[in-house]
Every structure is written in C-alpha cells, then in structure tokens.
Amino acid sequence: MTERILTARMEAHPADSHTLARYEATGGYTALRKALGEMSPADVAAEVKASNLRGRGGAGFPTGVKWGFLPEDLRPRYLVVNADESEPGTFKDRILLERDPHQLVEGIALASYALDVHHAFVYVRGEYPKPARRLQRAVDEAYEAGYLGTNILGSGFDLEVTIHLGAGAYICGEETALLNSLEGRRGEPRIKPPFPAVAGLYAKPTIVNNVETISTVPWIVAHGGRAYAAIGPERSCGTRLFSLSGHVNRPGDYEIVMGMTWRDLIFDVGGGIPDGKALKAWIPGGASAPWFVPDEHLDTFVTIDDCAAAGSMLGSGAVVVMDETTDVVAAAHRIVKFFAHESCGQCTPCREGTTWMERILWRILHGEGRPADLDLLLDVADNISPGLRWPPAMTTICPLGPSAVSPITSIMRYFRDEVEAKITRGATVG
C-alpha cells in the first residue's frame, strides 16, 4: 500500500519538485526519450492499453480504449487535457499541476506521440492561477530543453502545447463544453454523438483526458503497461489520488492503491473523525455522487466497480466526510445550490429544475417547508433524472442536472426523518 506513482517526487522533494532540474534529476523525461528513441507510436498506445488505466476524470472509461476510437484517416487530431477541476471537494489535479507539472508535460508529449497529435491543449480552471503559472513555466522550460516544439529530441516529432485558462465555469469540465469554450463559444455541452474522438475540437478528432490520467502515462511507458496493470485489483488497477476533506483528522490528497475498504480510507488514511464523533455519511466521489452511510458501506471496497454496484461512484476522487453533527439538509442544499449556479442553462430541466430544488431545500432549511415539499422535491428530481436510479437516466444533454439530484435522493433515502423533522419542527438555521 505504499506504492507511489504520481506523488513520489513531490513528497521526496517538496521544495523544488516542480522544476525541470529536479524532474530530470529524478528520472524525468526518460520515458519520452525511450518512446521517441525505441518505440513506435503504436507501441506507446499498446502499453497504455495494456495498463488497463481507467480515466481519472470521473467516468472511469478505459483510456486505451478511448484512444482507439480515433478514426484512422482523419488529421489533424487534437489532445486536450482537462484541468478544469472545479467540483467541490476536488483538489487532486491541483497538486499535480502545481507540484509536478513536468510529469504532465511528459505525459502530454507521450500521449501526443502515441496519438499522432501535433497540437495539444491544456484547459486549466480559471481559479487556478498558481497551478497555471507553474504549468506554463514547465511548458516554457520543456520548449527550451527541446522536449516540446519542433523535432523533439531529434526524433522529427513536433508538438505544440497551448495552455488555456477557463473563465470560471464548472460546466467546462464536461468535455464537450470544454471544447466549445476552447473554441471561443459558450461553454455548453454538445449533443453526443458525435463523440469528441470523432468530431471534437474544431470538429476534428479529439481525445480529452484528465490531468491525472495523462500524468500516469510517463510511469506506464517507463515501466510497462503490465507493471501498472499488476498494481491493485484487476479492474481498478493502479494508484489513484483521493482528495479527503470534511470531518477527518487528516484531510488532504492521498495516493492509494485501490482495493482497500472505505473504513481503511477514512479511519486509517484519513485518521478518523475529529473529537471522536460518529461518522454520519460521506460523499465517495465528488459532489455529484450519491452519498454512502456507515451502516451499509463502510466495508465496501474502494474500487470503481464496487462503488458502482453500491449505487455511487469514485468519480473525481473527492471524498467529503460528514460527522454526526452535520445538518444533511444544509449540506444537500449547499451542493444543489452549487449545481444550480453552475448549470449552463441550455436544457430546460436542469436550468429551471436545479434552481427550483435549491429553493425548496432553502425553504425546508429555513422552516418554511410544507409536508407536500418532500414529494415535490423528489418529483422535481425525477423530472430531471427519471426513475432516480443509478447510473442516472437523464432528461438533459449532460449529467450536470442529474448530479444535483444525488444529494437529494441520498438525504431522502438515508435521512428522511431528519428532513421531515425540519418541516414539522421548523427552522434550525437562519
């Protein structure tokens, strides 16, 4: 359980892990040298496929398979790295950008080489000025050192990398909205199909990958896909960054091998709940994931498939822990308010529905709830995500609307009595 793939360098050299000198001194860019020197692009792609690496952005789609969706004959192709990390509780990409940007740059170069991409983009969240600065410096250094630009390391491979700063929209983390934003349009998700792999940026074949996914590529190329696949359980192999926050003694980013139980993660890795309070619930994979509760899920394994079977997801790896003092209605209200604020406004159910749910929750929270509001809340949620099942059905283009439903179904499933008490007893806040 001590395997470190992504964070070893930053842990060993906290002062200068982001510099080119330190990166090179700790084995950086050897994978790129190896790939450009001895491997064909297909070899690199084959290693990634063999690694069984699954995307770290949230959906967990196998990266190698995704890469295989690019049409053979269409050029140019683009690689877009999604660094628009803005879900509440998620801060894993931030340390990768801030503390080990060269790892990402090398990953971009490797992925671009594998995919025959000559222009890659990194879409960085607008509220990440420092990570963006660090990454830009790393890219500049890489250009200077010949790891980017024309004829990289004498191999004849050319690659441009452009860093683009978003303007503060969570929705631009959705890959097609990100592409629209990158093109200078309104950040609104596109209708799929066509998928970005077929018609993405500027209607050209485009691969959109998460920062963590791409940052893993140098290790895979250096050590081989099989070595990566051998770490951890078969279908959730490799290490993964978790952002632990909320009521835990030691919040922060942790790189762990998947396969431990939630009990291990919260109580061992996170150090348990402060002041010896009881655990009430936790969000296993970002604000859009349905919640877990100790009675049912403490011994569920932290793998993509186990969590999906239990009705939630690992998502973006943001684990928010709530202790017994948490007002679940307030927590749900805060999350729904976030989604209502971040809705792009394109689809009717999401634009109107998220705001409506937020207002109902506000009413309940402030003692103005009515008995009929519980059914109303669930029915409005049902009109955004029919059937209220997991994985969610949608009446919308993208999953943002259904994401706002998750906290509501969670509190209504596990804490309905608390919500009802708010309605009968009146306000507890405000």
Binding site: G187, G345, R351, E352, A393
Partner: protein, 809 residues
C-alpha cells in the same frame, strides 16, 4: 424492414411506418402523423435539443432510453414510444419547468391565442403548477430594434432567434447572456438588432418574447382573417399570409413555400402593408388643378383622360406595370396596343435588364437549383439589399458547400460565405470578365471553382451606372461552362410578369417576339388591331415626351422621376406631356399628372404574378380597397370603353383565361389551379418563343467604360426613399444615411476625412457627407440610389467630385 433504398421502417407507438432514411425522428414522426411536441426544433434550422420537449423513448440494447427526437436520426428497425407513461411524465415535467418562470400574462401577450407554449401546455402539460416561489423578473418589453420588442420574462430560451440570426440570416446580433437560471436573450450593448430579417425571429418565437412593434396590440389572433398571397416587394415572390382585422391588413407572416422563401421574409416584405393604410393614399380620382389636384368623379376623370388620349391619336406611350398583377399588366398591354394603338410601352425604366434576356434567357435556373449547385456565380446586385430572400437561399447553399463567387464593386452581404470575392471598378466589368473567363492571375482559383459541376449564374446589374448589357456578357460567359443555368436578377415586384404580358417594346404577351407574325395575327384577331413596328423603350419614350413627339403618357404604378437613371429627363417629360397616372399615391412623378386614378393595392385585389424564375403564383384578396380605389384592369376597361372599345375585362378570372389562351408560355394554366395541392406553390411557366439575344460577348470593346474620373457605383438599398417604404412609418426611419462612400486611399488623395462633405456632379449635383469604405474598389464612389438626398444625382458612369470646404477652414 423497408424495401425502398431511401426509406427505413420504424415502429412508432406500435405502428410500423416507412420514413425517409436520414430524416430526424421528430420530422419523420410528424410526417407519419404522430405529433411530437417541441419548442426549439424548427424544420429549417439545425437541431440543438435544448428545450427537451420532444423526448421520446427508444429501445436500445441497454433498455428503453429517453432521447430527444429532434437530435436522433431514424434507423431501420427503431422502436419508438411517443406517449408512454415515462414520456408523458417527462413532457409534463418540461412544461412545468418552462412555466415556473413564465409570467402567464397571456391576456396582454400578442402571441396569446396562437402560442405554441399555450397550445402544448394544454395538450401535454400537467394542468397545475407547484411552484410557489417568486418568478424571475425583468423590465417588461425592451425595444431591441425599431421593429422588435423583447420580453425576457416570457422567453423560454429555445434559441430559435439566436440560431436564426447566426445560421440563417448571418447577422448574429442577438445572443444568450449569462448562464443557468440567469440566462437571457439579449443584444450586444449599443448594437440594436438591425437585421433585415429580424421579423422572422418574431414569427418563429414559440412564445411572446419577441414581438413586432408595428403589430403590437393591433389585433388578437382570433380576429385575424388570413389569405395566402405572395410578397410583391421584390421579384422573389415569397409566400405570405395576409392577415387583416376590421378590414385592415395588420400583419404579414411568412408561409413555408419550399421552392421560394422556405418560410422566411425580409422585414420589408413583412411590414410593407403599412403603406396601404397611409393617410395620403389616393382614394378618389384626382384632376390637376393649378399647382395641385381637385377631387373628381370617376366619370369626369375617365372622360377627361379618354378625350385627351383620343385627340392625340397614336402619340401616346405607356410606362409601368411592373408592380401590378399579370392581369393588370395584360390589360395594360392590350389597352395600349389594341385600344390606343401605340407600340411604345415599357414596364422597366432602363434600370433593369433587356426584356428578352430577362424574360427568356435559357437555360433558366430555378431558385431550387442553388441547393444542389456545385458553384454559384453572383455578378449582380447585392442580394441582401435588393432580393433579400434570395440572399438567404444563396447563403444556405453556400454554407452547405456550394462554391460562391461574388463579383461586385464593394462588399456585399454574401462575402462572408463566399469562396471567392472579386472587386472591380464599375466600367471595368468587361475587362474583368475577360480575365475571369481566361482565369488570369488571381482569378484562376475563382475560374476553377466555376469550371466543375453544376453552376448557377445569378446575373444582374451591380449598380445602375453600369450597362444592362454587362449581365448579358456575364451570362454569355456562364453559358460557355459545362453545366450552367442563368437566373436573371431584376428586382421590381412583378417585372417578370409584366414582361411576360408584353409590357416591353420588343415583346408580345407570352414571351413572344414582337416580330412573330403568327402570334401577331392571333393577337390582332382578339384585340382588333395591333400597331406595326417596334416601339420605343422607356428612355426614348421620355425623350420623345420631353420633346413633344409623344403627347401623352399613361403611367401604371411607376415613378420615373425616382427610378429612372435620368431623373431630370423624367421630370421634363412628365411636365410637358398629358399624363394619366394609375397609382396608390401622389408621387414625385404623378405630381405632374393631369389625371390620377386610384388603384387598389396588395391584399385588395386578386391576381397572378410571376417571379424571377418564371413561377406563377396567385394573390388573394382579404380587404376591400379604400374609398373609390379600384383594380387597375377595371379602370383601364373604363378608359377603353370611353375610347369606344370593349376590353371585356369584367372579372379577373376572365382576364386570366384570356391571357392563358393568348400568351403561349401561360397556355393551359387555369385560375383554380393555384388554390389547390402543388399549385399553391405556383407553377413554373415554360420558356418558349423568344430566343434571347446574347448580344455581347466578353471581348466586346464597346462595353468598356473607363474614365479618369471616379467611377460611380449607384446601387439600391433595401430601405430607400421609394414610394412604398416612404409610406411605411416603421420602415421609413430605417433608411441609411445618404453618403458618398470612398475608398480610404481615394479619400486621402482628395484630402477628405469621414464626415467631410463633397459635391458630386452626375446628371444633377448632390452634396453628401463622406463615409470611408475600405471594401470599395479603388477609384470608385458608391452612392445609395433613391434616397431623398441622392435622388438628383442620376446614373452616370463617372462623376466629378469637389470637396466642400467650410468657410474659414
């Protein structure tokens, strides 16, 4: 599984139907008789799947899935549920969501009664709302242009308007602002929604968020009486519905007619009805009296006109008919030739093309040919200004991939979508054409684009100062290409119909040459007599009238003082001759008339009209003419009777029957055919009879007009100071500022800056402010035609420019 290769079979609510392959599910289902409610989807625009109203359940390998039918193409074997409980729940949910922020001020909303949101709420809504919070509020309607008001509270954010202006009309002046629950439609700061097509957004708005300011609160949908007609503002003849309340036309809406306008209209088409209600419309016969007119009875006015015409024998000429119906034009033609006995008649004012060329150039393109053309050559007027609905069709074809080559002295509305834009100085057209035909130098690529596949050549006069023969030369070049068709561009309402009815010195009704002995015999037999010889055209007629050789002019809806390239000549002619004018208004021309007879206008008469591709369509009547105004054919019948002849023109159906027997191209058409089935989209009459004289080949040196002085580009704008626009209060104010447009380099040679005044000397002298226009060909001055300040200039190849220096500067 479907048998036909272009069909697939789908199961729609348990019913197996054959639908066209590749069609969108929503369109296929509606076509097959299953209505799917929708707001954002519009059959003429790309789907966006935003409103989520058209959700249906489709069977997939992973079970039934809710999907928007507007973004899903049909596939063979697809199983679709459009009214399952899940779908119904989703529809009710969407309606409820849409209504939570909708003000429900239906009683004061212009859309109330014909509102898709109302209708679909009734049909698919939950019947009750559960939203108890305060709705979203915005200031009530804000004017976003002179024609359109926006009420953001009512908006359901379907993006139809924003997509129309970006996708269809190409002037994206209206967009979404903000996000989430705060999204609103708005214009950009300090940029009003000044599109020539803004009215279409009002029509396609599924709620009352966008309303037309001229129509605002004028009527409710249930008290509108509507008939189909076509817009006779220009020669495209967009299909419209004329909607009247209390015997006044209060609204014109576009009707989707596949071969012509496809539902769209220009704002001029849409709001031109206002002229019918103008206070100064002529509604009783007028007889000149000193400087003005006095009202007279029909008997007195017609008697006076007839006695003077009879006195003059054959020294009479007729002008006009290009704004009238085919029946009016035919009767005018018969009246002049058969009753008055003059061969001098012209529907155009030497501002168009040669009559034989315009009426019968072959092979003639249909507007629909644009859709599958590989290349389009546009060498003619700026379509956006002169034939705006045709502009939309060309734009659609060009965005769909046709290579568009635009040749014009300055930037045109289509330059954005053109593959090649070529500028030239007016007068140097023939030389340019020679170089284009040879593919010389920088024109090689444009020549190559025209070299392959189906080509549609849109040819007309780029400006009035250029000769009409240039268009024929361009057509002659186009005909050297493999597969080219010609669409001649002349703007005025029913000019093609008027030419077809023989309102040209060289043509007889039915696109027949005036020399055709056989047709002459047939006509003479019916008309009694037919004058010999080829008569004079408009300019010659005006010169003859000015010099006294023609003693009387009969004007039918024509304004030579404003529309003829030589306004001074027109004025002298009208001052000297005895003038009988049939018109809606006392215009700059009819002011000089001795007798003005009030005619009925659009929506007040029935008749047929012929558009630029030769499509005959019918105008219906929805209101009575005001006062004593009458159809022109009926007035001409009275005049003929007073002259002792019988035209037998006592019903418009009868006139049509007569012209359909005597005009070869119109043979076999019946009056009723336009009312039913495909006939509602009109009938394209075949080209017969006249072999168009392509008189000029590109190398003809006679065409070259090269002058040291600045060449004049005198071209029309959509909103000018013409009679109709001037009498439409909503449109008159939209006319652009009169100005002399100069290329910045020419301006610097003259040492003038933007806003300085210059004096231009053409036929007359005008003084105008300078506007710098870097898109203009160098050595050229562009002046908008027919604005009040530019009317005197006249169309001359080149002008003299003097800078007006302020005293003391």
């Amino acid at each position: 599984m479907a048998d036909a290769p272009d069909q697939v079979s789908i199961t729609l609510d348990g019913r197996v139907v054959e639908v066209p392959r590749g069609a969108l599910l929503i369109a296929a289902a509606i076509e097959a008789g299953t209505y799917i409610p929708h707001f954002c989807w519009h059959p003429r625009m790309k789907p966006v799947g935003m409103c989520r109203m058209c959700l249906v359940e489709i069977d997939t390998p992973r079970g039934k899935m809710l999907t928007t039918s507007c973004t899903t193409p049909v596939a063979d074997g697809m199983v679709v549920e459009t009214s399952s409980p899940v779908v119904k729940k989703a529809q009710e949910g969407v309606i409820e969501f849409l209504l939570i922020n909708h003000p429900l001020d239906c009683p004061v909303c212009d859309k109330g009664g014909e509102c898709p949101l109302q209708d679909q709420t009734l049909a698919y809504g939950p019947g009750d709302g559960r939203f108890v919070e305060e709705k979203r509020h915005y200031p009530k309607p804000i004017p976003i242009s002179d024609l359109v008001a926006l009420d953001r509270e009512r908006c359901i954010l379907c993006a139809r308007c924003t997509r129309f202006s970006e996708e269809i009309s190409g002037d994206p002046l209206i967009e979404f602002v903000d996000r989430g629950n705060h999204v609103e439609v708005n214009t950009f700061p300090n940029h009003p929604f000044t599109s020539y097509f803004s009215g279409n957004t009002v029509q396609i708005c599924p709620v009352g968020a966008l309303t037309a300011r001229p129509y605002r609160f004028r009527a409710r949908p249930w008290d509108l009486e509507a008939v189909e007609a076509v817009s006779t503002v220009d020669s495209v003849h967009s299909k419209v519905s004329l909607e009247a309340s209390m015997n006044e036309i209060v609204r014109i809406s576009g009707v989707d007619c596949d071969p012509t306008n496809q539902g769209w209209l220009s704002d001029k088409d849409r709001f031109v009805y206002e002229h019918l209600l103008a206070d100064d419309r002529v509604v009783v016969p007028l007889i000149a009296n000193g400087d003005g007119f006095r009202e007279a009875s029909w008997g007195e006015a017609v008697g006076l006109a007839a006695s003077r015409l009879a006195d003059l024998g054959g020294a009479v000429a007729g002008l006009g008919g290009a704004r009238s119906t085919n029946e009016d034009a035919y009767v005018f033609s018969r009246f002049l030739r058969g009753v008055v006995g003059t061969p001098h008649l012209d529907a155009q004012l030497d501002d168009g093309l040669a009559p034989e060329f315009a009426a019968a150039v072959e092979p003639r393109a249909l507007i629909d040919d644009l859709d599958d053309a590989d290349a389009i050559l546009l060498w003619g007027p700026d379509l956006k200004e002169e034939l705006p609905v045709l502009y939309l069709r060309v734009r659609k074809a060009a965005t769909a991939g046709a290579k568009l080559v635009v040749v014009h002295p300055r930037r045109t509305g289509l330059d954005d979508v053109a593959a090649h834009t070529i500028r030239y100085r007016p007068g140097e057209g023939p030389a340019l054409l020679r170089r284009l035909a040879a593919g010389e130098g920088d024109l090689a690529e444009a020549r190559d684009a025209l070299g392959a596949g189906k080509v549609v050549a849109l040819v007309g006069r780029p400006g009035l100062a250029e000769p009409a023969e240039l268009a024929e030369a361009v057509a002659a070049f186009a005909l050297t290409l493999d597969d080219a068709r010609i669409l001649p561009l002349v703007r005025r309402g029913n000019v093609f119909g008027a030419l077809d009815m023989g309102l040209a010195p060289t043509l007889l009704p039915g696109r027949v040459s005036v020399d055709d002995a056989e047709r002459r015999r047939a006509l003479a037999a019916r008309w009694g007599s037919l004058p010999d010889g080829v008569g004079m055209g408009a300019t010659d007629i005006l010169e003859a009238a000015a010099s006294g050789r023609i003693g009387a002019l009969v004007l039918l809806g024509v304004d030579p003082v404003r529309d003829h390239p030589r306004p001074d000549l027109a004025r002298r002619a009208l001052e000297r001759a005895f003038v009988v004018a049939l018109d809606l208004f006392v215009t700059d021309s009819t002011r000089h008339a001795d007798v003005v007879l009030p005619v009925a206008g659009l929506g007040e008469i029935q008749g047929t009209v012929t558009n630029l591709e030769g499509r005959v369509q019918k105008l219906n009547r929805v209101v009575p003419p005001p006062g004593q105004a009458r159809p022109a054919w009926s007035i001409l019948d009275d005049l003929a009777a007073a002259l002792g002849s019988e035209l037998e023109a006592d019903a418009v159906e009868k006139i049509f029957e007569e012209l359909a027997t005597l005009a070869p191209a119109y043979e076999g058409l019946t009056w009723d055919r336009f009312d039913w089935a495909e006939g509602r989209d009109g009938v394209v009459v075949p080209l017969e009879g006249v072999t168009p004289p392509l008189r000029h080949v590109p190398s003809d040196p006679g065409l070259a007009v090269v002058s040291e002085r600045p060449a004049l580009h005198l071209a029309r704008v959509l909103y000018d100071d013409g009679v109709l626009v001037r009498h439409c209060p909503s449109l008159a104010s939209l006319a652009p500022e009169a100005a002399a447009h100069l290329h910045p380099r020419d301006a610097s040679v003259l040492a003038v800056r933007e806003g300085d005044r210059v004096r231009l000397e053409g036929v007359g002298v005008v003084e105008l402010p300078v506007v710098l226009d870097p898109t203009l060909a160098e050595g050229t001055v562009y002046v908008p035609f027919n604005l009040a300040e530019t009317a005197a200039l006249g169309a001359v190849p080149s002008v003299r420019i003097d800078v007006v220096r302020e005293a003391g500067s």
